[in-house]
């Protein structure tokens, strides 16, 4: 019982006990004396006793106050500082004035703290070095996944997504908020995937995968969750190293919607062609046979047959012309291709050439452009032709350019010197390109791309061979800009630790560190949601397995349907103009609801933000019933109710930097709160608060105390 009281309270009780005990002894002694001396001494003894007790209590109180000020309180403060240092990792110096009457205790603790900081730095250095290698390998994997032209999803056995690549987002038509830990079936139609998984589990459990030609893999034809896009791919079980248990599965897929539509259209066109050609062909055959036959026609009848012959011939030509036009539209994109930047393509050509005996110099001219092709075979073809031209002409210096004219991208290889003829080029195009590509010839590559290749002289007397290709399918602003966007984001697209989790429904007893959180913040027109104040911005970041997923943030302005007071704008710098084009709350909250999914909601002073959300329930038809944690209440539990618990104070205490330009933006404050939450989880675990249930309990107590305090 007594161990649960704070140190200061226990010392107070100790002094109180001494004071009251002393008074009791004096009273007992005087009572005994009264019996011996007689009733006459009563006034003297009462006076003596009263003065003695008063003096003892006064002295006792004075000594306690000094003891509390110089011993108990400094010890308490030092303990808090040391715990923050040990568990939250903040490297703040202990105050040298604290506990100056405690002899060597303060210097000793400061020395220990310094040693701890140094030891921690040394450990961190070693960990950094050790993880650098792993990170390089991780980046290689990320690059491979990123550049794959297929969508990739890795899921655990609860169908929760642990990894996805950018192509998966594109194919599934998800706008960047896919969310790790979300179920696979929220993005694809469940039935075909469930069926394929059942089959694979059966195959694995019965050991048939060892002799099955597809092992632990199966072909899958499915659709996106909205049924608008047809997917084709493979699903493969992942098993543990002992091969005793399945731990998850990987899905690779592509969108075959257009391909299917083209196949259907091709069949339809072929069928229609047969019908349309048969009519004039039949008419022509009948007419021609009549004319060529041994019939005795008069001049008018013969003339009539000849007219028919001409008419049917024209009809046949017109049908062929019409079908020809339609078939050209279908021919594009029959071979799998992707968008590629011409400068990347040219660099690949140079790298490819560097591995050959005949190394050439090649200058890139003109502005790079995006094009659509099978880059592997195009690189092989251009490099092959360049080498052939070099061997043929003896030249070693070339220029490469790509430029767009109309709906075509022209790859041009230029040189000063001897012309190569079409017959020469045709003979090169019939040779196999590279042993690694099998028997593929240049002509095959051209056929796949539905294009051709030719050589001409330019007006400035250079020779060039020209290869027309298709422009990019997607809109690409600028190559470098895209790289900037992708590199920081792609790091957070996976979390393999989720593989170890088996039952996400039991969140109450899930360790705090293992929970999925959405830490969010709102900016508003004012502080009174019940009196017409509205949200003008909402942002959130996801924390999965103790990692802030910076690539998966939510950040939207909201049109408040009213003006923003100048006093509010002064804090968050959001003006009426900035939200003028923003969607209303009815559009933004459903997106946020989807982003949050089944995560635990966290905010700094959550009651305020939750109030805004709950007031919109009727309007949006969406209730946020997720568990909620409040960083103010969690910090109050750890640091006491009297400490300053503002976001700025906590951030400073934990060594978290909030750039001034993002402070008081919904996203900036969400990120800062997320960092604070992670530090608080460290401290909570050290104080025995391990699960969500524990955290909610201590929050309730802290809230009750704050409510009591608010009364006074």
């Amino acid at each position: 019982m007594i161990e649960r009281l704070s140190l200061r309270l226990r010392i107070f009780l100790f002094f109180a006990f001494i004071g009251l005990g002393s008074c009791a002894i004096i009273i007992a002694a005087l009572s005994f004396a009264l019996g011996r001396i007689g009733a006459d001494a009563t006034p003297h003894l009462v006076l003596f006793g009263g003065m003695s007790c008063f003096a003892i209590l006064l002295l006792n109180g004075y000594v306690w106050q000094k003891f509390d000020l110089n011993v108990a309180n400094p010890i308490d403060m030092m303990v808090k500082d040391v715990r923050t240092l040990v568990h939250a990792g903040a490297q703040q110096d202990l105050d040298s004035e604290t506990g100056k009457y405690l002899g060597f205790l303060n210097p000793a603790i400061r020395e220990i703290s310094q040693a701890l900081v140094e030891a921690r730095e040394e450990t961190e250095k070693q960990v950094t070095e050790a993880t650098a290698l792993a990170n390089r390998q991780k980046r290689r994997l990320e690059t491979i996944l990123h550049d794959l032209d297929q969508g990739v999803l890795i899921c655990n056995l609860e169908n929760k997504i642990l990894l996805y690549n950018r192509k998966a987002l594109q194919i599934l038509h998800v706008s960047g908020d896919l969310g790790l830990g979300r179920t696979l079936y929220s993005v694809v139609s469940a039935a075909p995937f469930r069926h394929a998984l059942d089959r694979l589990h059966n195959r694995f459990e019965e050991g048939r995968h060892k002799r099955h030609k597809e092992g632990l893999s199966a072909l899958i034809i499915g659709a996106t969750a909205d049924g608008k896009h047809t997917l084709q791919g493979r699903i493969t079980l992942i098993i543990n190293s002992e091969e005793t248990q399945a731990t998850g599965f990987i899905v690779t897929f592509e969108d075959i919607t257009n391909q299917l539509a083209e196949n259907v259209e091709r069949d339809r066109l072929l069928h229609q062609a047969m019908i349309e050609l048969r009519h004039p062909a039949a008419n022509l055959q009948a007419t021609a046979e009549m004319l060529a036959g041994d019939f005795d026609f008069d001049a008018d009848t013969r003339k009539h047959f000849e007219t028919l012959l001409v008419r049917e011939t024209h009809s046949l030509s017109a049908s062929i012309e019409a079908m020809d036009t339609k078939s050209h539209q279908l021919m594009a994109g029959a071979w799998p291709m992707s968008d590629v930047y011409s400068s990347s393509l040219f660099n690949c050509i140079l790298r490819r050439n560097a591995s050959e005996d005949l190394t050439l110099t090649c200058e890139f001219v003109g502005t790079p452009v995006w094009l659509h092709c099978d880059s592997v075979t195009i690189v092989e073809l251009v490099e092959f032709i360049m080498r052939k031209v070099a061997s043929h002409t003896g030249l070693r210096v070339f220029q490469l350019s790509a430029n767009r004219t109309g709906r075509k991208i022209y790859i041009d290889l230029y040189w000063h010197g001897e012309m190569v003829t079409m017959s020469q080029i045709d003979s090169w195009l019939d040779e196999p390109l590279d042993a690694d590509l099998g028997e593929i010839t240049g002509r095959d590559v051209l056929d796949r791309h539905k294009t051709d290749f030719w050589s001409t002289k330019t007006p400035d007397d250079m020779v060039h061979v020209r290869l027309p290709l298709a422009p990019a399918r997607d809109h690409h602003e600028d190559d470098m800009e895209i790289e900037r966007e992708i590199i920081p984001e792609r790091l957070d697209f996976y979390d393999f630790d989720l593989m170890e989790r088996t039952n996400l429904a039991e969140v109450q007893d899930t360790p705090l560190r293992a929970l999925t959180y959405v830490v969010f913040d709102t900016e508003t027109t004012g502080l009174e949601p019940s009196n017409g104040d509205e949200m003008i911005s909402i942002a959130g970041v996801r924390i999965v397995n103790g990692r802030i997923m910076r690539g998966e943030s939510f950040d939207h302005y909201i049109h408040p349907g009213r003006s923003i007071p100048a006093a509010s704008t002064a804090i968050h710098h959001i003006t009426n103009d900035m939200v003028a084009e923003a969607p209303p709350v009815e559009e933004v909250l459903p997106k946020f609801h989807k982003f949050v999914s089944d995560a635990v909601l966290v905010a700094h002073n959550a009651a305020f933000d939750m109030k805004f959300l709950s007031l919109k329930e009727k309007q949006t038809g969406l209730a946020f019933t997720n568990p909620v944690l409040d960083t103010v209440l969690l910090a109050a539990h750890l640091q006491g109710q009297t400490a300053s618990l503002t976001l700025d104070t906590l951030a400073e205490q934990f060594g978290i930097e909030i750039p001034p330009e993002v402070r008081h933006t919904a996203l900036g404050d969400s990120l800062a709160t997320a960092e604070v939450l992670l530090r608080l989880i460290d401290l909570l675990e050290a104080s025995g608060v391990k699960t969500l249930r524990d955290a909610v309990e201590v929050e309730k107590k802290a809230a009750a105390i704050r409510k009591q305090q608010a009364k006074y």
Partner: protein
């Protein structure tokens, strides 16, 4: 002076038809049925215009066209390419090789006559 035309096509029926059509239009006409024969014929007859099929045995129409344009004595001969290859890339390639016009098969005889007349009128 009567203009001369060389008709080059390995399909005898269309070669026959075009030969008679051009004769009927008042031109002097020679015919060839493959790439090598076409080159020999050009050397011998120096035609003003060639109706040149693209798909020919031995040397194709693109190759013949490029060869004629590279030779100072033949570079001014008018060339009308004819082909069942109707993709825009193939037409563009034909024009890049130096053709004055490109007719896709099937075509009407009227279109051939008009194209020949127009091109010879430009000379």
């Amino acid at each position: 002076m009567t203009k001369s035309i060389l008709v080059v096509d390995d399909e005898t029926s269309i070669n026959f038809a075009l030969e008679h059509l051009m004769k009927a239009e008042g031109y002097n006409v020679a015919t060839a049925h493959d790439g090598n024969e076409a080159i020999d014929c050009v050397d011998q007859t120096h035609p003003d215009l060639i109706l040149l099929d693209v798909s020919l045995p031995h040397k194709d129409g693109y190759e013949i066209c490029q060869a004629l344009r590279a030779n100072a004595t033949t570079q001014n001969i008018k060339i009308v390419m004819m082909s069942a290859r109707s993709r825009d890339i193939e037409i563009e390639k034909g024009m890049a090789m130096g053709a004055n016009a490109y007719l896709t098969k099937p075509f009407s005889l009227g279109a051939v006559t008009k194209t020949v007349k127009d091109i010879l009128a430009q000379a």
